[in-house]
């Protein structure tokens, strides 16, 4: 029988991460359906002020310890494991983010509980939780059953609305002492984002290029279109990894989050990691020769003509229209 849902609250540089509110939203739904408490745990430095933002939880466990800020996955998992046992929780939610990567996996090994990655939905069904994961860059969904409501879910960023997890009011705060062994992994410093020549987060129009642009020689075609539209060129991860554009132009999970008036995606499949960084764009137009590309599921307009054929024609027509 289920005894409670435990959320590992993520924070970075003194700010509660969006993923934490997303987890609180889905966690609340599950807790209400199962009639069990929703417990959040926050560890690190200055956790009380962070905990005050977690009003959606029934109670918040506080582990005040500066050594836990940016601690490696194994150390975080140790704390989470101790709290999991203390609370006799059945279900644990962790963020499927770069910051929390590994925490749930290590906890799974130590508790022998099933760990479900890439979770974008979860519901209670009788004695089980059914978790839906998006695999293969969003092309396939998989439903996994967690018997007795027991398991660890890694919640995919952007899958649940963060707003559903925000609630004013102070939850019950409970300090928790957890002994941790000193970690051999030492955090040295932050490296600030490269500013580059263009701040893509400030652009109203972005022409985004992906793997489908095929070669660095084709980037100028996209730049001409961006110039005609008064915007800038950005890219998905494969293009940046090839060194065709600087890191400052990357949109997605590890890169920038952008919300332009127009996001024109050229040869981008729309994998969840990319979608995460541009889903807030007001108008999304996608060009991809694969009619099944996931980008078409979220874009407003789309076409399957080849981006390389379309680019020069479109640029000329826009120039003519603008005079």
């Amino acid at each position: 029988m289920s005894q409670g849902i435990l959320i590992w609250a993520e924070h970075l540089r003194g700010q509660v991460s969006e993923i934490t509110f997303e987890m609180l939203g889905i966690g609340r739904q599950l807790a209400d359906a199962l009639k069990v408490p929703l417990v959040a745990a926050v560890a690190g430095e200055g956790v009380t002020s962070l905990a005050n933002q977690l009003g959606m939880a029934d109670k918040v466990l506080l582990v005040e310890n500066p050594a836990l800020t940016l601690a490696p996955a194994a150390t975080q998992a140790s704390v989470l494991h101790a709290l999991f046992q203390q609370e006799q929780a059945s279900l644990v939610l962790v963020g499927g983010t770069n910051v929390s990567l590994g925490v749930g996996t290590v906890l799974a090994i130590r508790t022998k509980l099933p760990y479900i990655n890439f979770c974008k939905a979860a519901r209670a069904e009788g004695d089980s939780i059914i978790a839906t994961s998006q695999l293969f860059g969003g092309k396939i969904l998989a439903d996994t059953r967690l018997p007795n409501h027991r398991g660890i879910l890694s919640v995919y960023p952007g899958a649940f609305p963060a707003e559903a997890g925000r609630r004013a009011g102070t939850p019950e705060l409970i300090p928790a002492a957890v002994e941790i062994a000193p970690s051999p992994v030492k955090f040295e410093q932050f490296i600030e984002p490269e500013t580059g020549d263009v701040d893509i987060t400030q652009q109203e129009v972005l022409v985004a290029v992906g793997r489908g642009i095929q070669s660095q020689d084709n980037i100028p075609l996209a730049e001409e279109l961006a110039a005609a539209l008064g915007g800038a060129v950005c890219a998905s991860r494969p293009v940046i990894d090839q060194g065709w554009l600087p890191l400052s132009r990357q949109v997605g999970k590890s890169g920038m989050t952008v919300k332009p008036r127009l996001y024109l995606a050229l040869g981008i499949s729309g994998a969840p990691e990319h979608w995460e960084g541009m889903q807030g764009s007001r108008l999304i137009v996608a060009v991809n020769t694969d009619p099944k590309a996931p980008i078409f599921d979220g874009a407003h307009f789309g076409t399957t003509v080849d981006a390389l054929d379309l680019l020069p024609v479109l640029t000329e027509k826009i120039k003519a229209r603008k005079g």
């Binding site: 910051v99 090994i109 051999p184 992994v185 040295e188 920038m256 078409f296």
Partner: protein, 257 residues
Amino acid sequence: MKYYVLIKMVPDTVEELVIGPDGKSLDMEAVRPKLADSDEHAIEEALLLREKSGGEIAVVALDSPEVDEVLFTALAKGVNRAVKLTGDWGQLGSIGAAQVFAKFLASDGKLPPDAIVLLRSQAYDDLEGEIGPCLAEVLGVPFVGVVTRVAPADGKVTVTKEFSGGLRGEFTLPVPCVLGIQSAEKPPRYVPIAKVRAAQKTAKIEDVEGTVPEALQAYEVERMYLPEVAGRAQMLEGSVEEVADKMVEVLAQNSLL
């Protein structure tokens, strides 16, 4: 330094993915296997590290369809050893695979003191979790994931990890360790097919029998399916000219021109 790069084949998502008759897994007949993207970067990072400060690189894979081609490609790029762990791995998840690799890397339970294990940060079919932290846990060594830069010095290694929004962090950890590579400092090098063919003639893949892991942690995939098409984009059809005209209209209607 000894660099071990542990690689994995994944279905190429450029090809259409088909659900198998059981409704719970992919139709593997229809799958075209390819090397996981960030494993390609892990191999490159190992080559760059050896260029800077010497050492030896072993690329290790579980036996799976078309993995030989990938191992020969790695040999053609210049890795010192390519090892294939043979066995019936079926649909082994990350935790099971970590146990198999751990047995190979540390037969006496301990990694060599100068070993750095490099592998993908995450693959898009890692439903059971990331293999890097699993392996580090089994071996009892430290781990950092989402790494884009590796600099060894004095028995330690300094790495850069990506957070989000372009923010990164620098961490130092002792060797031996496991690093989840997101991308190498340079794009993965290209190797001509002729060199791969030459490697097939001159170099050798070492076949090593893998050890089947103990009881695996069970989880049950009930159903695998294609996403429902919700809020599908309005498609602009026609020739390139016609599509361009329609797109210009869309932009004009949205006051973007």
